[in-house]
Structures are given as C-alpha cells and as structure tokens.
C-alpha cells in the first residue's frame, strides 16, 4: 500500500517516470486535466473550506492538506484519498456526509457541483501545482510593503500644533488643549479641579506609592503660591520612592522574578541587581533610550558601567527549565530566545512579535522571517553570574575597613610564628612526637634523622605545618586570623545576560546541555525538530525606514570583544528615531506614563500597538508627548511633570450622568476616574501610616511577609509568590503584563480583617495616637488624617467615637487592661479597610 502510493506520488512529481509500466497510459493527460481543475476550482475550495483546520497553523486529526504529500499521507483516520477512486476516498465520504464527522466541520455542506469537481480531481490523480500555503522558510512568507508602513503606529511621529479651543482659560499646557478640543467637540465640559488634599493624596500615591503625611498635607494646603503644586511634583519626583513605585511597573513588563521556575524552581540569588538597576535608573532620570539600550546590550555598550551590566538582567529574567532531557535541549533554547524577543517586543515596542514564531503574524506586518532574524540576535546570549564591583567607592571603603580590622589578627599570628614557633617546633620534634595518621613516613624519617634540621627542606616544612595544627597556642592565633580572612569583602555577584561568559549552573550540564547554539535556524511551525535555513540577524522590516537595511545599525564587534555585538545593533535600531524603531519606542513609553497616571492609556492596549490593538483616542496628543520626550533627551521626569501639572490631571473624580452618556468610558478624560491601589501600594501605605515602614533600599529581597520593607523588595520566587501580593492581582511573572486587573474578592477582605500584619499595623498606629492625643476627640481626627489625609466629617466623627467607646467597654468587660488601646486599634484597622483608603480619587 505504502509503496504503491509513493510510486504514484513519484510519478506525479517527475514526468520522466510517466512511461513507467505501473502508470496508466493516459496519466500525463489526466494529470494535466487535474491540474487545470485544481487551479480553477479545487485549490480555492480547499483553501476556503479546509485549510483553516487542516494545514494552516492547525493540522486537526493530523491531516495536512496544504501539500499533496500531506493529502496522500492523510491523518489519524488513514489516507484521505485513494488515488483515482474518489468514491472510496475518505475525503469524498466526509464532504458528501456519507461518513462522520461531516465536513467542512460546523459549516454547510459544499455545493454539489463543487463536490463533483473535487471527485473528478481525485479521479484524475489529485495533482497540486504548489502547496496551498507557503511555510516559513528563508525565502517564503509575506513581505513587508510601504502600505504596511502606513499603519498609524509604524509611521513617524507627526508634528502638530496644539488645537484651538474655545475655553482659553482652562488649558494650562498643550496637553490640556488636546484634551479640551475633543471634549468641546462632544460638548463636554471638563470637571472642576480636585480639592487640595485629594490632589496631594492622588499625586503622592501616583508617584511614590505612599500617602502624604499629615505634615505634608498641612504644608500644601497652606501654600498659596501659584507654583505650590509644581513644587510638590518636584519633591515627589526627587523622592527615592519614585523609582520604587515606577520601577515596579517596569518589572511587571519585564516578567521579573528571582527563580528559574519549572522543576525545582531554583533561586536566582543575584537577580535582584536588575530590580536595583531599574529603581536607580528611574531615580536618576536616566534617558529612556539609554534605559532600553542598556537592558538589551549594556555589556556591549558600556562594559565599564556596573549599572549597564546590571541592566542586562532584563533579557534573562524569564523562566527556564532546571531539568532537561536531551530531546528538550534545543526546543528549550528556542523557547528561551522566544521569551527574550517576545518580552522585548511587548515591553518596549508594544508589538506581539512572538505571534510570528509559527507563522507570519496574522494581523501585523511581521513575517515569520523577521521573527527568526530578530531572534537570532540572542543566539549566543546566556544568563551568567559575574563578580562585579557595583559600588567601587563603597567597596574600597569596606575593604579598607576590613584591612584595618584584619591587621591585628594577621600581625599577632605573624609575630607568634616569627618569635615563638621555631623554639616550640624544635622542642616538639625532639620529644618523639606521636605520629599522624597518613604521615607515618615523615615521622620515621624524623626519628632516623634525630632532629628536624637534618631533614630535607620539603619534609621539614611539611612537618612544621603538621606541628602547627597540633599547637593549641598557634591555633589560638590562627583561627581568628582565618575567620577574619574569610570575611574579606568581595564585590557582589551579579546576574547578567551576556555572551562568552560562564553559563549559570544547570542540572543538565552533565548530560551535555550546551546552553546555546551558535546558529539560529528558521523553524517550520516553530518546531525545533523541523529546522530550515540558518538565519542572519536583522530587525523588523516594517520599522526600517528610508531604504535602510540592517547594516545601518549592525556594528562589528571591536577587537578582542567576547560578545557578538548583535545586541548592540538591536539597541541601535530600536532607539533610532531617524530610520529605526525610535518613534514607536517613544510612543509606547509615553502611553504607559499616561496609563498609570489616568488608569487608562491613550492607547487602551498598552502592549499592543498593532492592528489588533486599540487606536489612540488622542493620536496628536500621543505624538506630542512622544516628541516632547525625545526633545527633552528622553527624560521621563520632565514628561511626568508636564502631565501632572496639566489641568487635565487636576480634575476631580466626580461622576456626571450627562457627561457619562456622551462618553461612558471617560476616554476623553472629563474626570479623574478613581483607581484601586495595587498590591504593593496598599501594603506599603499601611506600613507607612502605621509608622512601621523600613525605608532601606536595594539589595537581596525577602520572602518573609512580616518584613516591613517596601513590597518591591519581596524576593520573587515563582513557586512561592507572596500571597498578600497575589491576592491583590500582582501578576505571575511569566510573561510581561502591561496592566493589572483590580479584582474585588472576599479573601482580600479577610486580609484586612484578620491578617496579623494589618492587625499589627493598626495596633502600632493606635499606640502612636495614644501617645500624642489620648482623648478620642483628638485621636479619631488624627487617625483620619494619618490614614485618609483628611479630617472626619461630623457624622463620621460621631460614628467613630461611639464605636471606639463600645469596643472599649467590651474589652473592659472581658478584663483587658489595654482595652482603650485595643479599641482604638480596632478603629484604625477599620480605616485601613475603607474604600477610601484603597481607591485613589
């Protein structure tokens, strides 16, 4: 059966065999007729009705009709046709509904004339002129045209002047003019400005993830200077907590974690340096293009900068199996390359590059060819741990300090060895010392020689060493010296992603796991078992403008370089605002800033700027912001300030039925929609308000939920994610996430009610309040001010006081000596649980 089928197949592909005895004489004519039928009707029918499930990106039932080979091979149910015998062919039976499942699946039966044509085609030998679809080889696949480049996000930034508006009093800057123009079109008036305490609370939580202190509220409310708010913004942008807050947004996009995931989920104990890089870079207002470039190729672009090396942790932050079998080596590596390219694509360019791994991107002009050429950038890039002097000044200082501490031990030992050891040794050696196991020969030699001086130098030295380890006096001096030596400060280990470095240890090392392959291949359907041509590096064609090819950005590695400098080329391209991806890079980041300040981006799909994503609600504004960013040297802080000092940002949260009827989703920004705080900000706010917050920055994180450091310093172990973070929608760090959900579920309420951490914070706040204002009519307003940045209203005050009094009475009845404090703690805990505490207006 198999042999006859392959024979006929051979006949169909090589005309010279047509005269073979097994082939019917009219074969050539039949095949020609069949081919004509295929071109006129059958190809279209198969493509339209079958290909979706059998040969496109899917091969249901193992049947691939894309090629004649696949048709003849058939699927799980056996060959789909019997050549020359349509009536006995499975395909025919299925499309005529004689057999089940009736095909095409879940669609009407094909028209009879078409079925007849397919049957005739089978009878004629079922020839194909070419496959129904091209697969991802080097030469095949879609191209990228100028028309593709016309899509809005691929176009260069458009310069525009701010639109004219009727109300010229409201706008404070061009942001406001853009926003107001659209509102005026819809006849919606912007909301009033929020009151000062609301505004301060909003901007403080926005920029630092911490509420303002009562003193800060008071100061701002009193400051009547016209630039009072601008000064607040400056103060908050200069706060080290800004980087901790905004760094966390980036870490979501970078799917940052500190363990490998998979089998054993081993820790990556030196991965935190990437987190520290992000915080430091944001706090230092590092230009965003540099921020991006260093994450891609810091080791190549600035090898002497510790921060640049720390930045490379980005690429290697994804999961990786910790146990591999030989069969998985290569596919695991391709998965890893995909993770690098995919994360980079969504985080930096807002493009779903990973969608082109198995086939040309369905919606965006990213051919499978571009995918593999881009992926090959990382062919030789691996995770590694290197010793790195990340803080030379501090290291030098601690080394000097250590040397000072170490010197007395070293000196004491040296002195003892100089002055006392010779005599002690001689005395010991001459008193027939007890032999040491394994060194018997030495002692025999000593006995023979009579005294150590008569031994040869080597034996004498060895004997001396043996003696020392037996000499309690020597040990008394040596042990502390050794202990001190071990404590010599060394530069820390840093996890980097680079080339030509020692890979991180892997379980499969002893099975010969190579960690990387020098070359990357095109893969058919993304399958590492179906390798095609070797790939050479390039970038996304749709973002290569002005007739440039990849050579415009690629640079040869300098002499002696241990890396390929392919990543440097990628970094050049991604940040190039002339001919590369720089304009998209800018658009994507300014949209993220907007998103976090307003709860929704100007582009509602912040990591998808492609055809499937949303279009910008304010394209001119987006381009204006992106242009401003580039103009200001890619400095994010000035852009924050521009946004935060706009009248748009200052609006209150008031809901309005009439306005909502015209713009229900507030896409035109007629109000400031309330947002729920993220997991980290909720926890950090509670710590801060209770006075328990430990503001120590940087360094190794912890898994201890009782820690009082900011939540960004939790150690992120993929198999042990901190439950208080997960509960409030912190993402699993597996793929980059642009926006977090804000769910409301009962286990969150349980945390506010019963968590030992929340309870402890409430007690601490109560204790502090009691010290300063023990009377309830002072304590309650103070608690309100600390937790909610405002004084209680009359009715709130009354309820609160009644509550505390009742709780106190109950505790007293139960015989608690600390009844007053517990009752006040119950009240403070209630404040943490309030909607007003977790929703920012």
């Amino acid at each position: 059966m198999i042999s006859s089928r392959s024979l006929i197949f051979a006949a169909a592909t090589a005309l010279s065999v047509a005269s073979h005895a097994a082939v019917p004489p009219q074969h050539a004519q039949d095949m020609a007729k069949g081919l004509a039928l295929f071109k006129s009707d059958v190809r279209a029918a198969l493509t339209q009705h079958c290909l979706k499930c059998h040969g496109g990106e899917k091969v249901k039932g193992g049947l691939d009709l894309a090629t004649r080979e696949g048709l003849l091979k058939g699927g799980e149910e056996g060959p789909s046709i019997v050549l020359g015998q349509s009536k006995s062919s499975l395909l025919y039976k299925l499309i005529t509904h004689q057999s089940k499942p009736a095909m095409p699946d879940k669609s009407p039966k094909l028209p009879e004339p078409l079925i007849a044509k397919i049957a005739q085609w089978i009878d004629l030998g079922a020839p194909y002129d070419k496959p129904l679809v091209e697969t991802g080889t080097a030469s095949a696949g879609r191209g990228v045209t100028e028309a593709d480049r016309q899509f809005w996000s691929f176009q260069p930034l458009k310069k525009s002047t701010a639109p004219k508006v009727k109300d010229t009093k409201w706008p404070r800057n061009d942001i406001d003019r853009h926003i107001l123009a659209k509102l005026e079109e819809k006849k919606i008036a912007p909301n009033n400005a929020a009151d000062r305490r609301t505004l301060l609370r909003r901007v403080s939580l926005d920029l630092t993830g911490l509420p303002p202190t009562p003193a800060e509220v008071e100061a701002f409310v009193k400051d009547t200077a016209p630039d009072a708010f601008a000064k607040v913004v400056d103060r908050l942008l200069a706060s080290p907590h800004y980087g901790e807050r905004w760094g966390r947004h980036w870490l979501d996009l970078a799917r940052f974690a500190e363990s490998h995931g998979f089998e054993q989920d081993y820790d990556r104990p030196h991965a935190y340096h990437f987190r520290d890089f992000v915080i430091k870079a944001l706090n230092a207002d590092m230009p965003y293009d540099q921020f991006v470039k260093w994450q891609i190729a810091g080791d190549e672009l600035a090898p002497k900068e510790p921060l640049a090396l720390m930045a490379t942790g980005f690429l290697g932050a994804g999961v990786f199996p910790t146990q591999l079998t030989e069969k998985e080596f290569e596919s695991a590596r391709y998965d890893e390359l995909d993770d690098m390219a995919g994360t980079l694509g969504t985080a930096m360019l807002g493009l779903t590059i990973g969608c082109a791994r198995c086939h040309d991107h369905k919606f965006d002009p990213i051919p499978v060819r571009d995918y593999y050429r881009l992926v090959s950038t990382f062919s030789t890039t691996i995770r590694s741990e290197i010793q790195l002097d990340i803080d030379p000044v501090a290291h030098k200082a601690s080394l000097a300090k250590w040397e000072k501490e170490h010197a007395p031990f070293a000196e004491a030992l040296a002195k003892f060895e100089r002055e006392q050891i010779p005599a002690r040794f001689a005395q010991w050696a001459t008193n027939s010392p007890v032999s040491v196991k394994g060194q018997e020969a030495l002692f025999v030699a000593l006995k023979k020689a009579g005294s150590p001086e008569k031994l040869d130098e080597k034996s004498r030295a060895k004997l001396l060493d043996l003696f020392k380890t037996q000499d309690a006096e020597w040990k008394k001096r040596n042990d502390p010296a050794q202990k001190s030596l071990v404590a010599q400060p060394k530069p820390p280990k840093v996890q980097v992603t680079s080339e030509g470095v020692k890979p991180m240890k892997h379980h499969a090392d002893d099975r010969g796991f190579p960690h990387f392959y020098k070359e990357t291949h095109f893969l058919k359907r993304g399958d590492a078992n179906q390798k095609q041509d070797v790939v050479t590096q390039s970038f996304l064609q749709v973002l290569m403008r002005g007739g440039k090819t990849e050579t415009a950005w690629k640079s040869a590695p300098p002499e002696g370089a241990q890396t390929s400098h392919r990543r440097a080329g990628l970094a050049n391209w991604i940040s190039d605002t002339e001919h590369g991806a720089g304009h998209l890079l800018a658009r994507v980041i300014v949209n993220r800033l907007w998103q976090h300040h307003f709860g929704r981006g100007l582009v509602g799909t912040p990591s998808d700027f492609g055809a499937q994503g949303e279009r910008p609600t304010h394209p001119e504004l987006l381009d204006f912001l992106a242009s401003e960013l580039i103009k200001n040297g890619w400095r994010l802080k000035s852009l924050h300030k521009l946004i935060l000092t706009s009248a748009t940002y200052e609006q209150d949260a008031k809901f309005d039925d009439t306005k909502a009827a015209k713009d229900p989703q507030n896409t035109l920004v007629w109000r400031h929609a309330p947002q729920r705080l993220e997991a980290e900000a909720i926890r950090d706010s509670i710590l801060s308000v209770s006075g328990r917050l430990d503001r120590t920055m940087f360094g190794l994180g912890t898994l201890n939920e009782a820690s009082t450091r900011r939540s960004v310093y939790f150690f992120i172990k993929r198999s042990k994610l901190v439950s208080a973070m997960q509960l409030f929608d912190a993402p699993e760090p597996l793929v980059g996430q642009a926006a977090r959900p804000a769910t409301v579920i009962a286990p969150q309420a349980l945390l506010f009610m019963n968590s030992p951490q929340v309870r402890l914070a409430a007690k601490e706040l109560a204790a502090t309040l009691q010290k300063t204002s023990s009377a309830l009519d002072a304590a309650v307003p103070a608690a309100y001010m600390a937790a909610l940045s405002r004084a209680p209203a009359k009715d709130e005050m009354a309820k609160a006081v009644a509550f505390v009094q009742a709780q106190e009475a109950a505790y007293k009845t139960a015989g608690r000596a600390d009844a007053a404090q517990l009752a006040l703690a119950d009240f403070c805990q209630a404040l943490f649980g309030l909607n007003e505490f977790v929703y920012v207006e």
Binding site: K327, L734, I745, A749
Partner: protein, 481 residues
C-alpha cells in the same frame, strides 16, 4: 442578577469584550454595555456563577493527580504480551525516550497479577482491589499521550495545555469560564501531599492562573496548620466585636459612597466584607470531617494508617464539591522519585505503596458520590503527567522510566459513559496506537463536560486570544454518555 454575565470587574467591560472573544456571556454583556454606560452597570462579582456555553453534564470536577506518572501496564492497561516477551529487547526503542538513557533494560512484565472485573470485564491490576469494584463507572482512555518526557513540562502540559510555564491551568480556565456556585468557599482548591513529601514538580505553577486574573488560581490548602490564610479573627476580638467593626466599616463606606454613588466597585467591595465574614464560619465547617458519620469516615479509610491522609483529602473534596466548589485537585504523592508514583526503581514497591494510599479513599469517593446522587454531575478524573515504559529501568530492583507516548487515564461520573475503554496502545503498551488522544483532546473533553466549548473559552493577552487547548483539541466523544 444571577442570570447576567458576570466578569472580573478589573477588566473594564470593554477590556473584557476584547479579551473574552465571544466567550461565555459575551453576547449578553455586549447588550448590557450598549444599554447602559460602563459605570452605571452593576459591578460584577468575578467569581459569581456564569452560564456555560451549552448544557453542562458536570458541575464540578475532582481530579486525582497521579503525580510522578503511573505505569499504565502495571495498572489499567493489561498487556499479556509483556509477560511473553519478558526480558527481550524492545526492537527499535529510542533510548532517549525516558530520562535515563543509560539504564534501559529489556521488556519487563508487570510484577502484579491482573484479573477481570465488573460487567465490562475490565482487566485491573491487583494493586487496586477497591477501585476494581467501580470499573463500570469508569471510562478508560488508554491512548492518552503527551509531549514531554520530563516531569515539570509534562505536568504543565497536563495541567495547563502546553509544556511550558506561563499558562492557566484547567481549574483556572474552568472557574474563569463558569465562576463558582459557592460564595463562601474557594472556587478552585488544590491539596498536595500532607506527609511532608513535597509539592509536585513545578510547584504552584501547576495550579496557577497564568495570565488570567490571579483570583482564578487554585487555592492551595496548606498541608499543615491552617489550610487557608486569614480565616481566623484576631484572638483578642470576639465575634460581636468584629461584627461591630465590620458594621462601622460598612457605615463609613456607605457615607463615602454617598459622595460617589456611581462607583459600583465600591459597593462590590462593601459586599466582599460580608462574604468574607460568612467565609470565616463556612470554610471551617466545610473542612470539619468530624461532622461526618462514623461509617463514612470508615468507608474512606480515615481509620487506616496507610491511607488516612488521602482519605481525609478525598472526603474534604466531596464536602467542598457538595458546597459548591467548582474544581478540586488532589495530588497523590510528593516530589522526588520514590516519594511519588515516579517509580524509576522498584516499580513493584513504589506502585503498590501509592496504590495502597489511594485505592480505598478514591473508591470510597466514587461510592459516596454515587450514593448521594452527586456522581452524575461530578466529574472524577484519575490522571498523571505521563505513563511509564514497558522496558525496565535497570536497578537492583528494576523500575520503569518516563514514557510520554502512552498513559492511561480514567474519568467517572459527570457525563461520561461507564465501563468503556477508549483507544489502545501497541501490544507492549509503549505507544498509543489506536484512536490516539492528545492532552489537548483530554482538556477539550473536560471543558466539554463542563459545558464549555474549548475553542470559545479564550482570553486575550498581548494581542492574542489564548485557549487551554492552544490551536488543537478534539472532544473524545466516544466516552460521552
């Protein structure tokens, strides 16, 4: 309200429309969106029950995860040919099929006796004397196969549909699609080995929500101590005092909401505290096995040292499902080789040991569910991450290495036919050969029984609609009742 589609409120309604494709309830939601403004609509509870795509046969699922990979030829896939060819080399065998390429031995007969059971005459290994009595309730799939020969990728495949990290598991998809009937208990519960033998490889990723909102992840009951976080009120407080505290919060929240009457999330959040308050008493009640009559406790084997721990988990599963929990997964065995069904050495000792732990409790679960009339809408699944090889793994006491090409799983209740066997392996049980069932097909079948179309249950992330079954999956119809 209950008939309305409810989705996580996080996702704005528009986001949801984008993300859920035309998934569950999307049409209903669409009309809702059109008729009312986003913010004027009632705030949805993300875990509230939602209608399925079509009538569901199973309301809930209890999955006994045979962790480490059970050997099909020593359990449910009887291969007399193996005994005949015991010791002979398996021709054409790729020694890299399993994990230890250098320890491949010849074909090895099962150390266990097989006998026929039930009306259907199913051949069952002697290690399951109790389960053997229930074969007429079970639909066996002998041709199940997977894509990895390595534990964690295979576990991820079996739980999340792809042999990689980052994807939501079946339980998360099910609760995402259907919500949970129980308002006072977690929707999706996972129980792991309570004997200190560790978590399955890949740990919590196996019950992770992947990119779905994290509320859909499995609630892992801590094997020791309090099973659920924050369930006990602060020690110094009485119930009445906590009630008073919640009343104060509700009062203050309502005053606040009076100033923001249109923010529906705020009222949903007020409700969530009431729900939490009820959970405090409902969850301990559900977990209190002392409430069960003595004969039920005995039926499960709570009085038997060798299986009491697993009996407690199976009985807990029934109590949870009875109270509306949607999905329960119980892992049999812990992490490393001999601490789970991963019988690399001494397959006889390993498998008989773990069978002894699970046989009576799982049999009791089937019997108990049946006698309560719950089996008809509770799907019980018995499946691990891969099968084992028919050839020996050389060792003083021989074992069997990993086999991705064939494994046996069974389902019972919840809309599957009893006493049927679907698909077959080759004559020695090495590879699925007839009516092959891929893990994607297996998942499509589970979702189908829950009334969900695996092609329509989607979630959009970074520009792509993701499914549990990736781009494949075919419901195994012959086992459907």
């Amino acid at each position: 309200m209950s008939s309305e589609p409810n989705f996580p409120m996080d996702l704005s309604r528009r986001q949801l429309l984008q993300r859920c494709g035309m998934g569950v309830g999307a049409m209903g939601m669409y009309s809702l969106l059109q008729s009312e403004g986003l913010l004027a609509a009632p705030a949805p509870d993300p875990l509230a029950p939602r209608p399925s795509h079509f009538a569901a046969k199973a309301k809930s699922v209890i999955w006994i995860f045979v962790n480490g990979g059970q050997s099909q030829v020593d359990t449910w896939d009887y291969k007399p040919e193996l005994a005949k060819r015991d010791g002979q080399a398996l021709e054409g065998f790729d020694r890299f099929t399993g994990f230890f390429a250098n320890a491949v031995g010849g074909l090895m007969k099962s150390p266990f006796e097989f006998a026929q059971h039930g009306q259907c005459g199913k051949w069952v290994s002697s290690i399951f004397p109790n389960l053997a009595r229930h074969v007429d309730k079970m639909a066996f799939i002998h041709s199940l196969h997977t894509e990895s020969n390595n534990h964690s990728p295979a576990l991820f495949m079996m739980n999340c549909g792809l042999p990689r990290m980052g994807f939501p598991c079946v339980g998360s998809w099910a609760t995402y699609g259907l919500g949970s009937v129980s308002r006072n208990l977690p929707a999706f519960v996972v129980m792991s080995d309570p004997r200190g033998r560790g978590l399955p490889k890949g740990h919590a990723t196996n019950w992770g929500a992947g990119f779905l909102p994290s509320i859909f992840q499995g609630t892992h009951f801590r094997p020791q101590g309090d099973p659920i976080d924050n369930l006990k009120r602060p020690v110094e407080m009485t119930t009445a005092q906590q009630r008073a505290q919640l009343d104060l919060m509700a009062d203050l929240n309502r005053l606040h909401q009076g100033r923001n009457p249109h923010e529906n999330e705020l009222s949903a959040r007020i409700e969530s505290f009431e729900l939490a308050y009820r959970m405090q008493s409902a969850a301990p009640e559900a977990l209190d096995l002392e409430k069960e009559p003595e004969q039920i406790r005995k039926l499960y084997g709570l009085d038997q040292k060798h299986c009491a721990h697993f009996a407690a988990q199976c009985l807990t599963a029934r109590r949870l499902v009875e109270r509306g929990t949607r999905f329960v997964q119980i892992y049999s065995g812990g992490m490393d080789n001999q601490l789970s069904w991963d019988g690399h050495n001494d397959i006889a000792g390993n498998h008989s040991g773990f069978a002894q732990e699970s046989d009576q409790p799982v049999a009791a679960l089937l019997e108990d569910l049946a006698q309560r009339g719950m089996l008809k809408d509770t799907l019980v699944i018995w499946a691990g991450e891969f099968g084992r090889l028919p050839v020996a793994q050389k060792s003083a006491k021989p074992g069997r290495d990993h086999n991705p090409h064939a494994m046996t799983a069974w389902m019972a209740g919840g809309g599957v036919k009893g006493g049927v066997s679907h698909g077959a392996t080759d004559e020695v049980g090495h590879k699925a050969a007839v009516n092959k069932v891929h893990v994607n097909d297996f998942h499509a079948t589970i979702l189908h029984l829950l009334g969900l179309d695996h092609e329509k249950l989607t979630y959009r992330l970074n520009g792509r609609d993701f499914r549990l079954t990736d781009v494949a999956g075919k419901v195994v119809r012959p086992i459907l009742a």
